[in-house]
Amino acid sequence: MKHLFRSKLFKNFFSILILLVLVKFLWFVVEMIWLSPTGIGHAEEVGNKSLYYRVKLTPNEAPAPVKKQPTKIAGSIKDIRLLAIYNSEDTTVITVEYKQKSKVLARGDEINGFILEGAGNNFATFSKDTKTYRIDLIKSKRSSSSRSSIKSTSKVSPLSSKKSIKVKGEVTDAGDHKIVDRSLLDHYANNMDDIYKNIGIKEIKESGKIKGFSITFVRRGSPFAKLGIKRGDMIKSINGKEINSYNAAFETYKNIQNIENLTMVIQRGKEEMELEYEIN
């Protein structure tokens, strides 16, 4: 009698089939228990553009007159006498005598048109326009001879000598707002690492969501220090756009070269402040 099927072949085929079904079942179980049936779609943030851009209404795009502030030439560095210094890693506080009154200044504070940039063991450095000035502590008995104008920031003191790259452009204080040279802005727009050499920024999260970005340090003598931002400030919005995600921050950074004015809302302690900049 001739067999219709070769039983061995059939058996082998059947075994392979069972094996295939087993593997399929195995994967099915894995899929059901551990694997995700759907992927994660990235939702592009809508409305990435700033809420507003402040525009100049002057005709023909004439450059805004550079306010070199002749009004601020009022005082001389010689009117300021350094009485005491408190200097730690993150805080610099000095006591000065000005017009026969003593005043306590923190880094970034202004007196007689001079901005406190930093302090060493027995001296403090101030900046005004492009120049940096050094005042020695009055007790060091070198007061009269040691006041000197230092032409470049890099020569000022050991504290600011760490500044590695001299960037073209400056930040000028125009009273209610600050004027930032476009060349300075362009430099930082094209060299992101240079930003992080001068300023530290970290995210602030609240129940897992980014609330804003906080300043962890501002390098003394850097253009960022002249922008008026301080350690501990939290950046909340720029030109009306909330900075509540890395994407929002990065989008602003990417478009920074196209803006002419910038309004930054920061939170300093419990107070909310608005900082205004004009890009020139």
């Binding site: 593997v23 943030e45 690492d193």
Partner: protein, 172 residues
């Protein structure tokens, strides 16, 4: 002998079935979820599942919500013991061109279970040819730039040099 032959055939069939029935898309989705925990997101236009591979068409990579790169195609091919990821035409976001080469024509990342801590990387682009390896145990990455091209100038500040030439090294 027959026994060995049977075991061998069973093994091969099992292996083949394992690869064939592997839920590649779901495995990829799981990988996507794991990456999302590290703030890395991949948004692809479409996914094509092959017999032994998975193709991601026009994926866009986001890190912390920031668009980092756009890729024409990623092909993931696995034989379980050996996995290859082939990346075709990766274009980095404009703003990152000072950190890394702007365009990578082809990149190949290979991983083998025989050396479980080693990942080999090869890439080719306008910057020349890159050869590198990542050590998962030491959590380090080294990329050697085998050619010195003009393109390298923009990222040279991030590179180091030894007797072999320019290289990039980092830990993760």
């Amino acid at each position: 002998m027959q026994m060995v032959k049977n075991i061998f055939i069973t093994f091969i069939v099992f292996w083949f079935a394992l690869l064939l029935f592997m839920p590649k898309q779901e495995l990829y989705f799981t990988l996507e979820k794991e990456l999302a925990k590290q703030d890395i997101e991949i948004n692809e236009q479409s996914i094509n599942e092959g017999l032994f591979s998975l193709n991601l068409i026009q994926p866009v990579i986001y890190v912390k919500g920031i668009k980092i790169a756009t890729i024409e195609k990623i092909n993931i091919f696995t034989l379980i013991l050996n996995t290859n990821i082939n990346v075709k035409s990766l274009i980095l976001d404009d703003s990152l061109k000072s950190f890394a080469p702007e365009k990578i024509d082809v990149a190949n990342i290979s991983y083998s279970l025989f050396s479980p801590f080693k990942v080999n990387i090869e890439a080719k682009g306008s910057f020349g040819f890159i050869e590198g390896r990542a050590n998962l145990n030491e959590r380090s990455l080294r990329l050697d730039f085998n050619e010195t091209t003009k393109e390298l100038d923009s990222i040279r500040s991030n590179l180091q040099k030894d007797e072999k030439g320019w290289y990039y090294e980092t830990s993760f």
